[in-house]
Amino acid sequence: MTLVQTEAGPGGAPAPGGRPRESFSAWFQRNRRRNLTFGRISFFLVFLGLPLAIYVLLVLNPFVQAVQISLTDWGGFDNEFNYVGFANYAQIFSNEAFLTALRNNILLVVVLPIVTLVLSLALASIVTVGGASHGEVKGLRGSSFYRVISFFPYVVPAIVIGLIWGMVYNPRGGLVNGFLTAIGLDAFGSFPWLGHPRTAMGATIFVIVWSMVGFYMVLFIAAIRGVDPSIFEAARLDGAGRFRTAVTITIPLIRDNVQTAWIYLGILALDAFVYMRALNPQGGPDRATWVMSQELFDTAFVANKWGLASAMGVVLALVTLAFAALVFLINRLTGAEKEGGYQ
């Protein structure tokens, strides 16, 4: 990847006497013996050793240990455990609650990224290239106002977003039913949006979309602004309408950004812990919004079955990696360029 030193990397020193440029690595090699002083050793220890030590101890180490613990029957408090092979994994897949959670996560990972991407791409297109169909290609007037407002939810903690929407959906005194009653739909006077099995998941997805669209809209606006405007003008001169421009010009040009956003949204959908915890801590009616992360958390910190919880973590990680691989594959199959090109 980018670590491979290229000629364009840290360039050579403009050596005195007009000698040809020399690569940094050669420069380093030449000076290595002289530079292995106390100063350099302490520099490497502190600059590289200290951050890496913290990272390895608290991030990599737990990841590796989780795989190991998932093969044991460890109960948490004492240090006694036996290796039980894949028994935890077998137990997970006969656990009705976990399977329900897995299904809910799959529903989330299919629906949530697509809805969020479509909405944020549409809003970003309106803001950047939605202006008049002649003259300079530009966005609507006053669009930065909408951009600033759309970003609001990103600066609000997700748990608080969940609390606000829990109250907005509240059958008693909530904003949604208040609005519906006000426009004459009295039947919704006390409809429990989060408490009804048919609406709980939809209402929850809406909250997550609400909290995420602004961020991706801003990201896509930046990406679209990075595209050479003459491309849009050429498309327009060839007679492409706004919708066609968006679908056949804009999206392919920023497809790497879309792919990254899709993966991040998928990871969020496979987690979703904080939103579920705020909106329906018990998983909602008939476990309609119960997700894997909640099952994992309860197994670990309520039931203290740490081996089982770690196995769930491994499954969650594998599903996440499979999802990311799938998005890469789709992007490649639909014609992305060979080089996966970030940086």
């Binding site: 670590l3 990397g9 840290p10 360039g11 690595s25 380093f28 100063g39 520099f43 490497f44 502190v46 951050p51 990272y55 608290l58 991030v59 990599l60 990841f63 240990q65 989780a66 809003l123 008049a132 169909s133 002649h134 003259g135 300079e136 609507l140 909408y146 407002i149 970003f151 609001f152 939810p153 990103y154 609000v156 748990i159 609390l163 606000i164 929407w165 829990g166 109250m167 907005v168 005194g173 904003l175 609005f179 609400w210 669209v213 801003v218 930046a222 990406a223 990075g226 327009r236 950004n257 987690d271 705020a278 801590p281 994992l296 670990a300 910190f301 919880a309 770690s310 973590g313 996440t320």
Partner: protein
């Protein structure tokens, strides 16, 4: 067809060097007007959907619980209940959690920016064996879900006697924010000109001084962008504190707010809940509105890196 031709005429720079922008206002076609109206309508509806729940929370934070539950959601408070804020701050402990959040996020932000800048500087600027491996290990930390790590993390902090303490939380925040920080700053340090570092070396600066008095000041724009995102990420962090910051004395804001969840629908202090919501979001929202221009710049540079 005529629209396209009009567009051709007005955008063709070779025949018409006059600024096109001056004439767009007067020559809006009918379909343009329709689309402009629809576009504005879509944006306005979305803006309303964003703002109304927030404004409603602000309004409700001044109401009594009875008003919130039984009254019209659109009504103004009968009398403005500033006591809600006092109750949330003192009795519900939001004041204490707020302080804890400030301490934890402040300390971990400082540490992760310092350590992340140091680590990415070495990775970007020095040649040594194992560099590529370190880079990929960092990538792994960005890819795997935190949930996989949460059980062993609990155990590790417990064995270090750091479970439920602020230093333990700070250290964990630093560790989990490090990969993102290193990735972003790595790209940034690569773009800085090598000549200046070499000039500093020739002038007798050691590695340490070159970094702190030459490279770090030059990296300020990149540092600012990463710091903003790290701040938001850490301030909003939920899973890590809920799992490992078990001592209620040391709870951070998000944990304090979580204790309200699950009580909605029961007889709780709704006025206090909304006051706590406003206390949590108002400071960051106000800072965002003041600095939104810089923040948009950060997102832009992130998207284009």
């Amino acid at each position: 067809m005529s629209t396209v031709q009009a567009a051709r005429a007005s955008t063709d720079p070779s025949t018409d060097p006059a600024p096109a922008a001056t004439r767009t206002g007067s020559r809006l076609t009918g379909s343009d007007r329709v689309i402009a109206v629809v576009s504005h309508a879509v944006l306005i509806i979305w803006a309303v959907i964003i703002v109304v729940p927030l404004l409603w929370s602000l309004l409700s934070s001044f109401k009594t619980s009875t008003e919130i539950i039984s009254g019209s959601p659109f009504a103004l408070p009968e009398s403005w209940q500033f006591e809600n804020y006092v109750r949330a701050w003192n009795e519900a402990g939001i004041g204490r959690y707020f302080l804890n959040s400030v301490i934890v996020v402040g300390a971990s932000l400082f540490l992760v920016m310092l350590l992340g800048a140091m680590c990415s500087y070495v990775l970007a600027r020095y040649q040594f064996p194992g560099r590529r491996i370190i880079y990929y290990l960092m990538l792994a930390g960005l890819t795997f879900p935190v949930f996989l790590a949460i059980v062993p993390l609990f155990k590790i902090l417990q064995s270090m006697d750091l479970l439920g303490t602020l230093p333990g939380l700070i250290l964990t925040y630093v560790a989990f924010a490090l990969p993102f920080t290193v990735f972003f700053l790595y790209a940034f340090f690569r773009t800085l000109p090598q000549e200046i570092a070499e000039a500093a070396a020739i002038d007798g600066c050691g590695d340490w001084r070159t970094f702190f008095s030459v490279m770090l000041p030059m990296a300020r724009p990149g540092l600012a962008s990463v710091a903003i995102f790290n701040f938001l990420g850490l301030w909003n962090q939920f899973l890590i504190p809920v799992a490992i910051n078990t001592n209620q004395e040391n709870w951070v804001l998000t944990q304090g707010m979580a204790s309200y969840a699950g009580q909605i629908g029961y007889a709780i202090d709704f006025g206090g809940l909304f006051a706590a919501v406003i206390i949590t979001i108002a400071p960051v929202l106000v800072v965002y509105i003041i600095f939104q221009r810089q923040l948009q710049g950060s997102v832009t540079s992130g998207a284009l890196k």
